[in-house]
């Protein structure tokens, strides 16, 4: 395959730590506000290397979540390109983008976004349930469940498997959300204000979890936050100011 289509990335290169896994170039995005339109992103460039932990800092309303959504294939830019692993997300069909979100990306949101009807284990398994057909899920069920339980145990939730999200505390919910995001072994983890809805103590615990993921498993992470102190924990901090990204030394 690599001989006939030189443009696609050879599998061996994926593990090259110096190679960029995600590259955003000239991202533009504007929103309609009544009659006028506000340009939030005015050409953002970002290159993310394998295993890197990058924080994007900015005031609320600066467009940092929008940038994260565009890089995570949840939203589309008005201009610019996003390349994931050498392929342009903007050129993909919606089904292909869904597949990338399912298998390559994981998301953590400020408001956890768990499904209220599903219990902790089922919420964690959601990505796997979406990936597999009914038959495929049935035949891999033991392994998938073991993985979900393993993740939840890591995050100290092994006694909560059958609970519904409404029965959990904020910190517990966010840990379930992290477990869900990691279920399919994503290449990139996107975190959108992961501690924004938590008190300082719980927020600290969640940050520890994220940091540990990066440190011990080499997880590539893009985190968005308005908290300068939290941003300092990343390898690299970028500030989104007036629609452009600036590197902080």
């Amino acid at each position: 395959m690599s001989r006939t289509t030189p443009k696609t990335t050879p599998a061996g290169e994926a593990s090259d730590p110096s190679r960029p896994i995600l590259r955003a170039r000239g991202i533009q995005r504007s929103f309609k506000m009544g009659d006028s339109s506000v340009q939030v992103l005015k050409g953002c460039n970002l290159t993310l290397k394998q295993g890197e932990f990058v924080a994007i800092e900015g005031r609320s309303g600066s467009g940092k979540s929008t940038l994260l959504h565009i890089m995570g294939a949840l939203d589309e830019a008005d201009g610019g390109t996003v390349e994931f692993d050498g392929e342009e997300l903007t050129q993909m069909s919606s089904v292909q983008r869904s597949r990338v979100r399912n298998k390559q990306f994981g998301f953590i949101f400020q408001f956890y976004h768990l499904l209220p009807e599903l219990n902790v284990l089922e919420n964690t398994l959601l990505a796997a349930m979406i990936e597999y057909s009914w038959l495929g899920f049935r035949s891999n069920r033991k392994a998938l469940q073991a993985r979900a339980v393993d993740l939840l145990t890591q995050f100290g939730l092994s006694h909560r498997l059958k609970h519904r999200p409404s029965q959990l505390s904020g910190g517990e919910r966010q840990r379930v959300a992290i477990a869900r995001a990691l279920m399919n072994n994503p290449r990139v983890l996107f975190a959108d204000e992961p501690t924004g809805n938590l008190d300082v103590e719980t927020g600290r615990q969640i940050m520890d979890v994220i940091e540990k993921l990066h440190r011990e498993s080499g997880q590539t992470i893009v985190m968005v936050t308005h908290d300068r102190a939290l941003a300092r924990e990343a390898d690299r901090v970028l500030v989104l100011k007036e629609g452009k990204l600036e590197q902080v030394e």
């Binding site: 919606s94 869904s98 949101f109 976004h113 768990l114 089922e122 990505a127 349930m129």
Partner: protein
């Protein structure tokens, strides 16, 4: 995988969806019940119509009939598929029942000994068939019937009824105790009657008061009657209905035992195998009956009376009908002592009204027929074929043509043909046989023409029973289509209900849709959740609707009886619908159809909400509050 999982979760956890489930269930139930009742009704009509007519009917195009029917029947009966062919004359007449009722009637001339081979007419007879069957099925035999069975039919096994109805000492004691209550009740009823102002109400209360007073009087008589006191069946029934079960149930006491049931069943078989128009009472009873109505009749005329021919009357002609409770009224032995005269008008082979003599004839009613098809039962009488043929001048007659004596052939108006059982219920087979019979009819007429006896009238038509009854059957079929259509329209409401509820669910679940999409679900996957949800509602709703509909249809007569008793609602008037019971069978293929439509409709109701859900932008959906 997640689709199925979420559908099942939503089905269990979202209560609002249960409303749409209920709507589907009720719609399916409603349509099932209506279709089953209407379909069953149509089927009963088909059976009844088929039962009345031959499988194939050769019909004269003209009132004067057609000749050479005997040759045709002989040829037709050679066909291997054919059981028998029977000539039938159908005409109209004027009936006069004992100078009390005069009415225009449809008259059928049947060769009764053979008619059983081509249609079910003999099974519609009361005296010669159905009364025996009712007794054989355990209907109580009244004391007077028991006596009659023993005296007229020599059924010695039948226990005389009267001694059975003697009171026991315990019964007499309990009746004595009930008297004060009954008298108080009669008093109260009289007072209520006096207090009533509305005339209709007063009338009803008067009846109540009279009945209570009558029963109170009978109770006193019985209590005073000593050891030989006898409570007749009607008195026992009144006591049972009024006071409760303080006496043996008369219907139980008079129920035939096994030996009696076997005896009456044997009698039914015996009578049905030799149905007859012959007056069956002893001659002196006919003489007495005639003398009672005509006290000044000459003796020689009275002596001739037992030799009159017999007539079978449709139940409606002699006012035998069912009351709202389903019991027959006016049926009784008095019918068999009513002299009836029937006037018919012949039409000559030349197509002219024949005013010759002998067109009025006296009959005794020997039986009643209840075919369950109202058009027949209300105004049809049946007389012997040969007698009617004679009266209509359709028999073979001597005449003169160009000075030479010739014989005008006998005529009939119809030939009814019965086919062998294996062909009876297939329309295609009947059409095929019809097409074999057509040329036979033509051949016979041609041959007669070659022999110098041409038939100049319109040739008779050959049709299957369905073709000849198409007008009525078509009307009922159309009615069923109409009702189905109307209820289908109502069911459209259910589709809208599903649409609204699903739309609500989609709006409510907008953020969840965003979550599912962020985890990698495709748009078509999200649409699939809601379509599958709709299908699940449809499947479960249709299943529950089937169970409910099945239960209702199976118990519809019980439910109807209860409605009648508790609320006085009688929807199914046996008189109007021609059948005493509401049809209660489900046809599998109709059930499958209805259930399939219910599922499809539910999916359709979910379609627009599903498309909306699929089109949601995940980021906007996640921000949804």
């Amino acid at each position: 995988m997640y689709k199925l999982h979420l559908i099942l979760k939503y089905l269990r956890k979202r209560r609002i969806a249960w409303v749409s489930l209920l709507a589907v269930t009720l719609c399916v139930t409603m349509v099932l019940v209506v279709i089953s009742v209407m379909g069953g009704w149509l089927r009963m009509f088909r059976t009844s119509f088929h039962g009345l007519s031959g499988d194939i009917v050769i019909q004269s195009a003209s009132l004067s009939g057609f000749p050479y029917y005997e040759d045709m029947i002989a040829e037709i009966e050679k066909l291997p598929e054919v059981n028998a062919g029977v000539p039938v004359i159908q005409t109209f007449g004027l009936i006069n029942i004992n100078n009390r009722k005069t009415a225009g009637v449809q008259v059928f001339g049947y060769p009764i000994e053979k008619i059983g081979k081509v249609n079910e007419f003999t099974r519609s007879l009361w005296r010669q068939y159905n009364q025996w069957l009712e007794w054989a099925d355990g209907a109580p035999i009244e004391p007077e019937d028991r006596l009659k069975l023993r005296e007229t039919y020599g059924l010695t096994v039948v226990r005389p009824g009267m001694p059975l109805l003697k009171l026991t000492s315990e019964e007499r004691e309990r009746i004595r105790k009930a008297i004060p209550n009954m008298q108080a009740k009669a008093e109260a009823a009289r007072n209520a009657m006096n207090a009533a102002t509305d005339p209709a109400d007063k009338e009803r209360k008067l009846q109540d008061a009279e009945e209570s007073a009558w029963l109170a009087g009978r109770l006193q008589e019985l209590a005073a009657g000593g050891d030989d006191a006898v409570a007749e069946a009607n008195v026992r029934r009144a006591i049972r209905d009024e006071i409760g079960k303080i006496v043996d149930d008369p219907d139980e006491r008079l129920a035939p035992n096994d030996a009696e049931r076997a005896a009456v069943r044997a009698q039914a078989d015996k009578e049905i195998s030799h149905p007859s128009f012959k007056p069956f009472l002893p001659p002196q009873q006919y003489e007495e009956a005639f003398r009672a109505n005509n006290p000044r009749a000459k003796e020689q005329f009275v002596k001739a009376v037992p030799n009159w021919d017999g007539m079978i009357a449709g139940v409606g002609v002699v006012n035998v009908h069912k009351d709202s409770k389903g019991n027959f009224v006016n049926r009784g032995d008095y019918l068999y002592k009513l002299p009836v005269s029937l006037t018919v008008m012949g039409v000559s082979s030349a197509g002219k009204l024949d005013f010759g003599g002998g067109k009025e004839r006296n009959y005794w009613i020997v039986d009643t027929s209840r075919t369950k098809v109202w058009q027949y039962d209300s105004n049809t009488v049946y007389v012997p074929f040969s007698v009617l043929q004679l009266d209509l001048g359709m028999d073979a007659q001597q005449a003169e043509q160009d000075g030479k004596p010739i014989t005008l052939p006998a005529r009939t108006s119809e030939i009814h043909i019965g086919v062998k059982d294996q062909y009876r219920h297939s329309s295609d087979a009947l059409v095929a046989i019809r097409d074999k019979i057509k040329p036979i009819v033509e051949r016979v007429l041609e041959q007669k023409a070659r022999e110098g006896h041409p038939f100049n009238g319109m040739p008779p038509t050959v049709r299957t029973w369905e073709e000849s009854q198409a007008k009525w059957m078509g009307a009922i079929e159309k009615e069923m289509v109409l009702v189905t259509f109307l209820f289908g329209m109502i069911s459209v409401v259910a589709v809208f209900l599903i649409f609204c509820i699903f739309y609500m669910i989609v709006v409510e679940k907008t953020r969840d849709i965003g979550i599912i999409k962020s985890v990698g679900a495709t748009s078509s996957g999200v649409a699939g959740i809601f379509l599958g949800y709709g299908a699940a509602i449809g499947i479960v709703g249709a299943g529950m609707g089937f169970l409910l509909g099945y239960t209702i249809v199976h118990n519809i007569n019980t439910i109807h009886a209860w409605l009648g008793k508790a609320l006085g609602v009688v929807v199914w008037d046996p008189e109007v619908y021609a059948f005493d019971t509401i049809p209660n069978t489900l046809e599998p293929y109709r059930v499958v159809w209805i259930l399939a439509v219910a599922v499809i409709a539910s999916v359709l109701g979910a379609l627009v909400p599903a498309i909306r859900a699929a089109r949601l932008n995940p980021v906007e959906a996640l921000r949804w509050e």
